[in-house]
């Protein structure tokens, strides 16, 4: 697993659910941030667990700092058929709200467009 910084234009992690999606980044630290999430955005979080489940259903892709192919985010993403890249180590630090990214869940890469 390798994580590049933002200047390199991509972040990598574990490919957890295949597919490609493009969207705006929304960083969700905890449930207090749920109200800022808009359907169709890319959910970027440290980890996800059951409390995140409703947000995952609204997301077009998931990116997490921590996790494996067996973590909750990965499992739910596969069920929904949306791309997920987990275990990036620092996506929540490198990305910021409103960034446009392309999440490639097959290769485990998040491309930063802006």
């Amino acid at each position: 697993m390798k994580t590049e910084n933002k200047q390199d234009g991509f972040i990598s992690g574990t490919a957890a659910s295949s597919g490609v999606a493009k969207g705006l980044v929304r960083i969700i630290q905890d449930e207090k941030d749920f109200s800022s999430f808009q359907a169709g955005e890319v959910l970027v979080a440290k980890i996800t667990n059951p409390i995140f489940t409703p947000i995952i259903f609204l997301a077009c892709a998931i990116v997490t700092d921590v996790g494996s192919r067996l973590s909750h985010a990965a499992i739910v993403a596969r069920e929904l058929g949306i791309p997920a890249v987990v275990g990036t180590e620092n996506a929540t630090k490198v990305l910021k709200d409103g960034d446009i990214v392309v999440v490639d869940g097959s290769k485990g890469v998040v491309h930063l467009l802006t």
């Binding site: 490919a15 207090k32 980890i47 059951p50 259903f57 069920e79 097959s106």
Partner: protein, 370 residues
């Protein structure tokens, strides 16, 4: 810390944050003891007493697994595990989960009478439900091991014997209703009802009752989903704007894709005359257990919400504060409820520990290791 590893590295979804002193001195010891008893009884394996240690608020587990294997119980372990293949699913669905749901329902009712109870009664009530809750949590966690095992077996089999992309097996495990789906289907249903309508007025509190117990970690000090009604309202509004995200339609789509993928895989097996029955067997059990793996996540430690309600009231009555009670140890609350401790000192202690907890949050073990 030789032979111990932070559980956050072993199982990244839980135990990420440092535990509050109350979590560490109350639920942890009870849950870890309950796990020991369960594994001994169900699989005949003895887990040593020192299999875990807390350090800087975090949980570390032993990593010298070979010691666990050096006992008679392990000889029959695999046999016992496989023998219970059909029983565990049935046991979870027809006994464990219904019984636990009934308990949650009665705890909800009882917790509504907190205001009429004295401090000692509330604390006693909480201690008794904690004992029961950890015993159920262990059973609920255990059924997930079958889901993880068959997910792994299917992945390995698919990669080696099906002429398809390695991740193709994901579609075989999707499209089954589970607790996650039910929760979102209910949010979607509410989004179709006008907020002024009486049935929305009934449906929204019902949603909080049924699905509001979701936790963000295994931790008494952290709020659960039901404590954020505005966040839930926002989710309903999102579905109102985006009806195309209807969970039922997505489930149906996944189900159709699953059936299609199954037929595809059967037709693209290498050495089909041998591998076909094995493939069918693995898929059958993977599809039986994988939905349970997701459902059980929602019921792990679901009594947290009721315990938090009682503890917050206790914090108020003891003068420590609703949110600082979690930074006392169990023995200190025992003592305070008995009236054998200076409450002013107690407040200072909890304030100090809260600050320590905040600083511990900044030091994540695997980041320190780099």
């Amino acid at each position: 810390m030789k032979n111990y590893r932070w559980v956050g590295n072993l199982y990244p979804d839980w135990f990420r944050r440092p535990a509050s002193p109350l979590e560490r001195t109350w639920r942890w010891p009870l849950a870890l003891k309950a796990a020991q008893r369960f594994v001994k009884q169900r699989l005949g394996i003895t887990i040593p007493d020192n299999y875990y240690i807390p350090k800087d608020g975090r949980l570390y587990l032993r990593t010298d697994y070979y010691r666990l294997l050096m006992q008679w119980g392990t000889l029959a372990f695999l046999f016992k595990f496989i023998r219970r293949l059909s029983k565990e699913k049935q046991n979870f669905e027809s006994e464990v989960l219904p019984a636990y749901k009934a308990l949650l329902s009665s705890w909800r009712q009882e917790s509504q009478t907190f205001k009429d109870m004295n401090t000692a009664e509330i604390w006693q009530w909480m201690k008794s439900i904690m004992e029961v809750d950890v015993a159920y949590t262990v059973k609920i966690v255990y059924v997930g091991t079958y889901g993880f095992l068959f997910d792994f077996l299917l992945a390995q089999f698919y990669k080696r014997f099906v002429k398809d992309e390695p991740d193709g097996y994901h579609a075989l495990l999707a499209g089954f209703p589970n607790r996650t789906f039910e929760m979102n289907a209910e949010l979607f249903r509410l989004s179709r009802i006008d907020k002024e309508n009486q049935s929305f007025g009934v449906g929204f509190p019902d949603f909080l009752t049924n699905f509001g117990l979701e936790k963000s970690d295994w931790e008494l000090a952290l709020p659960v989903l039901g404590e954020y009604p505005p966040a839930i309202m926002h989710l309903i509004d999102s579905y109102r704007i985006h009806p195309e995200l209807d969970p039922t339609l997505r489930l149906e789509k996944a189900k159709a894709k699953r059936k299609e993928k199954y037929m595809y895989a059967l037709g693209h097996l290498k050495y089909a005359f041998i591998t076909k029955p094995v493939f069918r067997w693995i898929v059958r059990w993977a599809q039986a257990y994988v939905p349970l793996r997701e459902t059980r996540q929602h019921f792990i430690g679901a009594a947290t919400y009721f315990l938090r309600q009682g503890l917050k009231l206790l914090g108020e009555r003891l003068g420590v504060g609703q949110e600082k009670i979690f930074f006392l140890e169990k023995s200190e609350i025992d003592e305070a409820v008995r009236g054998g401790i200076n409450l002013l000192n107690l407040k200072q202690v909890s304030d100090g520990r809260y600050n320590l907890w905040l600083s511990q949050k900044e030091h994540i073990p695997n980041e320190d290791r780099k």
